[in-house]
Symmetry: C2
Subunit: 470 residues, 2 copies
């Protein structure tokens, strides 16, 4: 009896590749047979035809190589800090928000809370009730951040008087924006809108924004990619841990901040605020990731995911080969650790543009660089290492600029391929904060979440439709 290569099956030493359930693997190993377990899984159900057409698209390989090549070549720099009225040209009554498009009627609690807070902050209403009445009557203009080269964490609500980080990709000459991070707990982006939230936003616009603007302009462009590269060597993954990134950013602009023509008490307040908020750098790495992924857009035939974003109701993705079209499904409730007395019943479904970090290969994709994060999002250290290893299965490249020391300096898994996601059934791993589902609550926890599979199966169906006839 021989195998297909003509090797005697019963006398030669067997070498076995196993797939799926590991009973057979273990039986063989117990008999000292060399076994190579392979993590093969069936494709997502009902996708075989679409997947076949997408995989047969002759443009695909080269399109993906070009798209992800531009992603890796992106060089994001912080170049300015300006109010959204200037940076995004926002007018009173216009708001930007996280995730794919949504209207007030379908908006979740934290999205509504953040919009109410932004109305109060802009002086467009005197009470939450009045703000809500205006919003429910459709008197505000809502549009996704992503449609305006911007990103916003959690609710991601931006109004004209909020100040924005302005980043430039010096390789591709593009720009992207993100608001300034407010800290944790009772903050607008988690849907809180009490007086302390609005007061903090007023101070950020009156003091922090102008100080950062002066410091950044005096300093010149700040290389954000270099800081991300270093933070991954310092226990941050760039989504739920930004402690080292925040400290390195602060270090970078500190001499200019100290030398600014401003009262030293304002400088001390600004330093205390930034230094006391381990997440401050999130709002700098998000637009850096946005620039990288925008560079990968609009490559016909490419299966590269260029955006993953959630508005608290829907999870949406965009794919390079199909332009600005969103593929959406219901946002899931994250699995995680809760603050104080909060629990899963208090949690809103997944929300925010911050999944742009995973889209660009950091955050959940770089968890192996941040084993200490399991104390914040739950799980074991081995899970964090496994999460990163698993993401190599669904990505197109490894980013040489972003290395994970404990994986022998392997580059982070970068550029999600919808075809690989559908073929393996492995969903992208996202680290995230958890907002309270009731408007006004704020943050209730942090955890792990995946997108709904339907985003990817729909994207593959659309790519199949757009593929040239076989």
């Amino acid at each position: 009896m021989t195998d297909h290569r003509g090797v005697p099956l019963l006398t030669a030493r067997p070498s076995v590749v196993t797939v799926g359930a590991d009973l057979f693997t273990r039986s063989l190993a117990d008999q000292a047979v060399s076994v190579t377990p392979v993590d093969w899984r069936p494709p997502m159900p009902g996708t075989a035809d679409h997947l076949a057409r997408v995989l047969a698209d002759p443009r695909r390989d080269e399109a993906n190589r070009r798209a992800v090549g531009r992603v890796l070549a992106s060089t994001p720099h912080l170049v300015d800090v300006r109010p959204a009225s200037e940076a995004l040209g926002l007018e009173p009554g216009q708001f930007r928000h996280a995730g794919p498009p949504i209207d007030w009627a379908r908006a979740s609690g934290p999205m509504r809370g953040a919009l109410i807070g932004a109305m109060l902050f802009e002086g467009l209403a005197d009470t939450p009730e009045e703000a809500e009445a205006h919003l429910a009557a459709g008197r505000a203009d809502l549009d996704p951040c992503h449609h305006h080269r911007a990103v916003g964490p959690m609710a991601g609500v931006v109004s004209p008087s909020m100040w924005m980080f302005e980043l430039e990709d010096t390789t591709h000459g593009t720009r992207a924006w993100c608001s300034l991070n407010e800290g944790l707990g009772k903050v607008l982006r988690y849907g809180a809108y009490g007086p302390e939230v609005v007061d903090r936003l007023r101070w950020m616009s009156a003091v922090l924004g102008p100080l950062l603007r002066d410091a950044v302009r005096a300093h010149g462009p700040v290389d954000i990619r270099a800081i991300i590269a270093q933070m991954l060597q310092m226990g941050d993954e760039g989504h739920n841990r930004n402690r080292a990134g925040t400290l390195m950013f602060l270090r970078e602009i500190l001499p200019e901040l100290v030398a600014a023509q401003a009262p030293s008490s304002d400088v001390a307040d600004a330093v205390r605020f930034v230094a006391g908020n381990d997440h401050f750098f999130l709002n700098l790495d998000m637009p850096a990731c946005k620039l990288a992924m925008d560079a990968g857009r609009d490559e016909p035939g490419s299966t590269l995911v260029v955006a993953m974003a959630r508005n608290g109701t829907d999870f949406g993705i965009q794919v390079s080969g199909t332009g600005d079209r969103w593929y959406t499904g219901p946002a899931q409730v994250p699995d995680g650790l809760y603050l104080g007395a909060y629990g899963p019943d208090d949690a809103n479904p997944d929300i925010g543009d911050s999944a742009i970090t995973e889209t660009a290969g950091i955050g959940g994709f770089a968890m192996a660089a941040a084993p200490a994060i399991v104390k914040f999002v739950g799980g074991e250290v081995a899970d964090a290492l496994d999460a990163t290893r698993r993401m190599y299965e669904i990505t197109l490249a490894e980013n040489p600029a972003y290395q994970v020391p404990v994986l022998d300096f392997r580059g982070t898994p970068t550029g999600i391929d919808v075809a690989k996601v559908v073929r393996t059934g492995i969903l992208p791993q996202i680290n995230t904060g958890i907002a309270g589902k009731v408007a006004g609550t704020g943050q209730v926890g942090a955890g792990l979440v995946t997108p709904p599979a339907s985003c990817f199966t729909e994207a593959v169906a659309a790519l199949a439709e757009a593929a040239p006839p076989v």
Copy 2:
């Protein structure tokens, strides 16, 4: 046929513990037999009798428990910054240095270079030649830092006008001191003494020291143990990587530094100097480790190492059970990576009190927390993980305050036991900078080193002599 427990040897499934060469291990594993390899090694040659007496000392267990208990209970806080003339009561012409006692005749190049530089800095000589003549004539008073509750990295030379960090162990009410870190390259502690070295020291005494003093006094005690705990979660091991620690220390005192009554250009210079020196925090974690290990001193019967220190010629250790006695052997040349065109021929043997970090369970003992360090000291990531794992074999405790995330938050291996070192032959793993062997050169590299075995065999011999008769 049965084994000593009466279990049938030939019919029951065997369970085997193997030791030493792994041929037998592999043969058994090939036959699917459960094997537990144990990393047993023979004791150091000629130590059997001494070791037997030390291990039989009835005081040993309890003495070690008490000594290491005090080490773990230590709570180091930065409480002041003062000139050495005040802090250590140093008079003109008095110098402190790293390692066990040494005189000019036996001093290595970098030790001589640092002493020459300190003479110039103090105005006791106008030229290096004049300084050298004074030193060679015995006109300076040399004494180890360790004899004065102080520690100094590399040459560790302290003179009266240098400013010192003053730390207090709030648990035990003790104090320890260390100089301010000058940065890398051409610096006094690596034996350089050119004009730029002396000018930098003058600025540190005139501007940096007083600014830090004012900030620390305004801030109140800075919890150094808390910063060490966090830096181990941020890719630092506290000896050759202190990047996160430096940033967290800067963050801690920044508001007070900014609000200080000083010209903003001085504040900006100080911030730039500290922020630009990734090793600044080394001179804060060293005295923290010194306080911890001083707490473990003078416990009769204890085999705990309370100091490891090198003067560039000799490596010395002190042991809790034998007071202030040094056990010395020839310092080794580290194995590592070299800067620029330098190579092993340019390297001085191991130098500095900084091995107090390993003595207290960080530095080389916490390398698993800092995999990125292999780019600085050489080796592979797996070596860094193995180094920490191996140190558990020769230590008395795991420090619950200092955890290594990637080892599932296991506490760092803490408290070297001379008996375990001699019994296993495993030497402590030290990370270190490498000084040029010619006086005036400065730093030439960084790498890994171990102490000479004779320090430990001599210590065990002395402990055996001091043990009660059997």
